[in-house]
């Protein structure tokens, strides 16, 4: 049933493009190609050696998406775990390898969270983001820090770089968002040209929301006439208040550029917790969380000679988290503090016109403190050296890289200092071939080995369970084969598509296992997952005359991620070869975006197929499939020199009740009203 819907939507998107192509063809009797008649699209699918997807520019701006997490839902091969609400945790899992394997880069430098290994993507607003890109494997531009080679997949949030047209030296944008959940969100984005060589951007954001929404749980009784149940309640304690400031400077130097950014984020939010049965109104769920994050990062890039360029980057970050839990189980108050220091040097050598090489060396220091019982106070010193080489033989491109990771860790266990060391060397190979000179058709393949270190939380849990925080890294092996094709079918219709088939393995997967010292859990590297998948993306941009542009984008993923954790006893067959938790076999999305004169509209649709809450794929563990639709309509005005844009969004148009994560209900139909004033 669901597969049919995907196919239907795909056919419709294709139909749209074909219909408009047919319609467009008769417009011009004499075909003259002038530059401004070619459709310049937001390049959603790049002709890249490595599978990459991007959402940027107008398409991203018009989309009903406010945080990076919202935008990532539209990529194929991605599973978003959303705990609901504006303040709820949102993490992303790429190709089922696990969310800790995803590297997240903000303005070129990685955001680290060694505590949990995941970045809460709901925190990163799209207001000052130019585009979001997802790379499977690693970015194929080899001139990058060593850490850019060190994740199984990478997400790049590209900050807006100030650009001024005409004689302008300032761009000021005021935004006000309001709507459901008692949302009040004023923000300012200010770009200023300070000199010919120096520009600045400042972003301020204040958000306040009660996070209240109605949700519904319903069970139909189709067996007899006793009826089922249908209950609605209000999600409480999901309020959030946050304040964010970002100040960035961008400079040009001879032969290069530099940028620096200061980021401050402070928030307080409630955590509503899982919805379970209890006497209504009897218990208060008042978990609270406070966050303070600050980072300062800098990057300089310079071309030294014709054949040598260098890039130096550095970052310092401090994260503070306070968590308070006042459930009927136990009162907890805990603080967590993370320190992060990072420097990197990347060096690009152009040896021959078709041959470039890069050597990067990165160093990072992480430390975590906490007041939780028997904390291990972990500290990590990490070094990475990446050597990469790239051959560009016109239609054949080959890249290979070798990453050496050296990690030294100390922890405090049983009142003693324990030291541990790791050294791993992991390769990546990628290639793409354009078989026909005149066609933008590329065949591509990549292979990558990489790992992720255990997180500090996993190490602490292991220590509490087994009196030793020793855990091994989790390894991934990726094999990918794909095709990319793009074509200007007519001067006003541009289409691009990519299909990638892949086989991945996750070994030494860290799982919480029962028993252990506290008769609760300990962590062990016992898991083994085999993943087979196909990611498809198709997009079309069509210009109808000078006034109407229509963009259509379609994504579909087929995924089989199976639990191959070795069988030790007969009962292990209950979970063996089962689809692992929260991974749907079928999933997809579609975006239909149109701009007509001063109006713009974006309709987007997401489908997630049925999933299971665990590797035992039984009816009891089945989570229903869900679809949601979002619609955004906006209008731009001009009032003297000021630009004004008003947008109305209706999200979850058909009021679908659904849980992404079991017992964390998502909001039903909700609205947003956005006003932008651009000076």
């Amino acid at each position: 049933m669901k597969f049919v819907i995907i196919v239907r939507t795909g056919i419709l998107a294709a139909l749209l493009s074909v219909v408009s192509a047919v319609a467009a063809q008769d417009t011009d009797s004499i075909i003259t190609y002038s530059l401004d008649e070619f459709v310049v699209s937001a390049r959603r699918i790049q002709m890249d050696v490595i599978p990459v997807q991007t959402l940027s520019g107008q398409l991203l701006e018009n989309l009903s998406a406010h945080s990076v997490a919202d935008a990532l839902r539209y990529f194929s091969g991605v599973q978003l775990k959303d705990y609901g609400g504006i303040g709820g945790l949102k993490t992303v899992n790429v190709r089922s390898m696990g969310s800790q394997h995803v590297g997240v880069f903000y303005d070129g430098i990685e955001i680290d969270n060694p505590q949990n290994g995941v970045v809460d993507l709901g925190r990163y607003s799209l207001d000052n983001i130019e585009g979001v890109s997802l790379y499977n494997g690693q970015k194929s531009a080899i001139f990058q820090p060593a850490k850019d080679y060190a994740s199984a997949s990478s997400i790049y949030m590209n900050a807006k770089i100030p650009a001024f047209d005409g004689g302008k030296n300032r761009d000021l944008k005021f935004t006000f968002k309001t709507g459901s959940f008692d949302l009040i969100n004023p923000s300012v984005y200010w770009e200023q040209k300070l000199s010919d060589k120096l520009t600045s951007s400042l972003s301020l954001d204040y958000t306040n929301s009660s996070g209240k929404y109605r949700f519904r749980y319903k069970v139909d009784n189709k067996l007899d006439d006793r009826g089922g149940y249908d209950t609605t309640a209000v999600r409480r304690n999901g309020d959030i208040q946050l304040f964010r400031v970002e100040q960035a400077l961008f400079g040009k130097i001879k032969g290069g550029e530099w940028k620096t950014r200061l980021y401050l984020y402070a928030s307080e939010r409630g955590y509503p917790g899982a919805v379970v049965k209890e006497e209504p109104g009897r218990f208060k769920h008042e978990d609270r969380q406070k966050d303070r994050n600050i980072f300062l990062q800098t990057s300089v890039r310079k071309r030294i000679t014709d054949s040598y360029s260098t890039q130096l980057s550095g970052k310092y970050a401090y994260d503070y988290l306070y968590y308070e839990s006042d459930t009927l189980i136990q009162k907890l108050r805990n603080k967590y503090m993370l320190h992060d220091f990072y420097i990197s040097s990347a060096n690009l050598f152009e040896i021959l016109p078709f041959w470039t090489a890069n050597i990067s060396a990165d160093f990072q220091w992480n430390k975590m403190n906490s007041d939780i019982v028997e904390f291990i106070y972990p500290q990590r010193w990490s070094g990475w050296v990446a050597a990469a080489t790239s051959f560009d033989l016109h239609r054949l491109k080959i890249q290979a890289s070798l990453l050496t990771s050296l990690i030294h860790e100390t922890t405090r266990e049983e009142k003693k200092d324990i030291r541990r060391d790791w050294r791993k060397v992991t390769p990546t190979v990628m290639a793409s071939w354009q078989p026909f000179q005149d066609e933008q058709l590329f065949l591509r393949a990549f292979y990558k080995d990489i790992f992720r270190m255990p997180t500090f939380s996993e190490m602490h849990l292991a220590y509490m369970g087994s009196l030793s925080s020793y855990l091994k890294p989790e390894f991934t092996k990726q094999h990918n084969l794909g095709i990319v094709y793009s074509k200007n079918i007519t001067p006003s219709l541009y289409m691009q598509g990519q299909v990638d088939a892949y086989y991945n393995e996750v070994t030494d997967k860290l799982l919480a296992v029962p028993g252990g010292v506290n008769f609760r859990w300990t962590m062990m590297n016992v898991g083994f997952v085999k993943i087979k998948g196909i990611d498809m993306s198709l997009s079309a941009t069509n210009r109808f005359g000078k006034e109407l542009t229509v963009d259509a984008q379609l994504n579909y993923t087929w995924q089989k991620a199976q639990d191959y954790t070795p069988i030790k006893v007969e009962s292990d067959t209950i979970t063996y070869k089962g689809q692992i938790a929260y991974i749907p076999t079928h999933s997809g999305s579609a975006i239909l975006s149109a701009a007509y004169r001063s109006w713009n509209m974006s309709y987007s649709f997401i489908y997630t197929g049925e999933r299971f809450t665990g590797s035992a794929n039984i009816l009891r563990n089945r989570l229903q499939s869900w679809y949601t639709s979002d619609l955004a309509v906006g209008r731009s005005f001009r009032w003297e020199k000021t630009g004004i844009k008003a947008t109305v969004e209706v999200n979850n148009l058909f009021n679908q009740a659904y849980d992404v994560v079991l017992n964390y209900p998502m909001p039903g139909t909700n609205f947003k009203f956005i006003l932008n004033i651009i000076i």
Partner: protein, 411 residues
């Protein structure tokens, strides 16, 4: 030109409209009937493994309607999953029915609740203590249909005496240290499920037994790591007051009465240097013996106590699982394994044990990895495996019933 424009817009609307229509709603959850697995019917009179002269089985003075007809098994399930469930085993047909509660109570929102902790029968009612949901569910024992409930935050175990139910709860009044409240025992009138009194006991109270008109409750102090509680509170049932605390051992959990009215108490130890242990509290309310025997769960039958223990060894980095039978007359261990055919090696994490009062069949549950379905094993009285069945998540507590369930049509 106009035709072109109209055609384009029409096709656009058509496509948008169809996509909108197609992308309507997903499916709603549906009520599912219990999964039924046929196993072996239990026919005690014909059970050839039973020896002659066995007092309970061939006792003609036990009327037919007092015979065991089956059992209910409570699956705890992991916190936050809201998947606590009750399974039912029907002796006559040998059918094992998984998750009967939602099917028998389709109008109850959110089914049974989050983390089941105890299940008992008293009179004609079936009681299930649902720990994280914080309430005691009361059902009719003949139909397993809901009749009443009582909210008791962080409730743990339940025992009964003279028409009253006594429920232990971690949530007593808040003392000076707000992060470690003292626990309590709540007295409930079973005719109307109204609370009639509560008494403060030690920290994080667990299992209870009643002896000589006194209620004994094990105080674990589990939230106060590493300063566990080490007492058993004694409550006089007439005055409903705590009269004394007996110092036994740290982190107490289980209490079991043997045939001589001695109380066996299990301690979980501190999981590091202090190992799990078993204590015997004599009739004089003093510890009469320390057995130096680890124990996670035990059940009494005749002159024996069957027990198992799961202890983590950081030397082997594995769980050490042991089984034992204690002779309660001699108070010594007489067997280090009541599973005699090697099936114990298949059990990953034993989580519950029960012995059929008539056939002496031994039931042991395996919680496996806590997040996927567990297994229930049935052994005959000689420790040989009869059958096993997949249950729900974390199968844990069994209560035998003398009333066959009439609300499910099984034969």
């Amino acid at each position: 030109m106009m035709m072109q424009k109209t055609f384009k817009f029409l096709s656009l609307f058509l496509i948008v409209g169809t996509v909108l229509f197609v992308s309507c709603r997903g499916e709603d959850d549906e009520l599912a009937p219990p999964v039924i697995t046929p196993l072996e019917p239990v026919v005690p009179e014909n059970d050839s493994t039973v020896t002659e002269g066995d007092p309970t089985v061939d006792d003609p003075t036990i009327p037919g309607n007092e015979r065991i007809k089956g059992f209910f098994l409570l699956n705890e399930a992991n916190m936050g999953s809201n998947k606590a469930s009750i399974d039912y085993f029907d002796q006559k047909t040998g059918k094992y029915c998984q998750n009967i509660y939602p099917y028998l109570n389709p109008n109850i929102a959110h089914e049974l609740g989050d983390v089941g902790n105890d299940i008992r029968i008293y009179g004609n009612k079936l009681y299930a203590v649902i720990n994280v949901s914080g309430y005691v569910e009361v059902m009719d024992v003949n139909t397993a249909k809901h009749v009443n409930f009582l909210t008791i935050p962080n409730c743990r175990y339940i025992v009964f005496d003279k028409g009253y139910a006594y429920v232990s709860s971690y949530n007593g009044p808040v003392k000076i240290e707000p992060d470690a409240p003292l626990g309590c025992v709540v007295k409930v009138d079973t005719t109307n499920m109204q609370e009639v009194g509560r008494v403060t006991v030690g920290y994080q109270p667990e299992e209870m037994v009643i002896r000589d008109n006194k209620l004994y409750v094990a105080n674990s102090g589990g939230y106060r790591v590493p300063n566990y509680d080490n007492t058993v509170s004694v409550i006089d049932l007439d005055r409903f007051e705590e009269t004394k605390k007996i110092t036994v051992g740290i982190n107490l959990h289980r209490l079991e009465l043997d045939s001589d009215d001695n109380i066996y108490a299990s301690s979980r130890g501190d999981y590091k240097s202090v190992s799990s242990n078993t204590y015997i509290i004599g009739k004089n309310d003093m510890v009469s013996k320390v057995m130096n025997l680890p124990c996670s769960e035990m059940t009494a039958m005749g002159d024996s106590i069957y027990m198992y223990s799961v202890e983590w060894s950081h030397i082997t980095q594995k769980n050490t699982i042991t089984y034992a039978i204690v002779n309660t007359k001699t108070q010594t261990v007489v067997s280090r394994n009541f599973i005699t055919d090697g099936t114990d090696k298949q059990i990953v994490i034993p989580y519950g044990i029960a012995i059929h009062p008539e056939t002496r069949d031994i039931y042991v549950t395996d919680a496996r990895d806590y997040v996927s379905p567990g297994v229930l094993y049935c052994f005959n009285r000689h420790g040989k495996r009869k059958w096993s069945v997949v249950t729900e998540d974390i199968p844990a507590h069994i209560v035998f019933t003398k009333n066959r369930l009439t609300s499910l049509i099984l034969d």
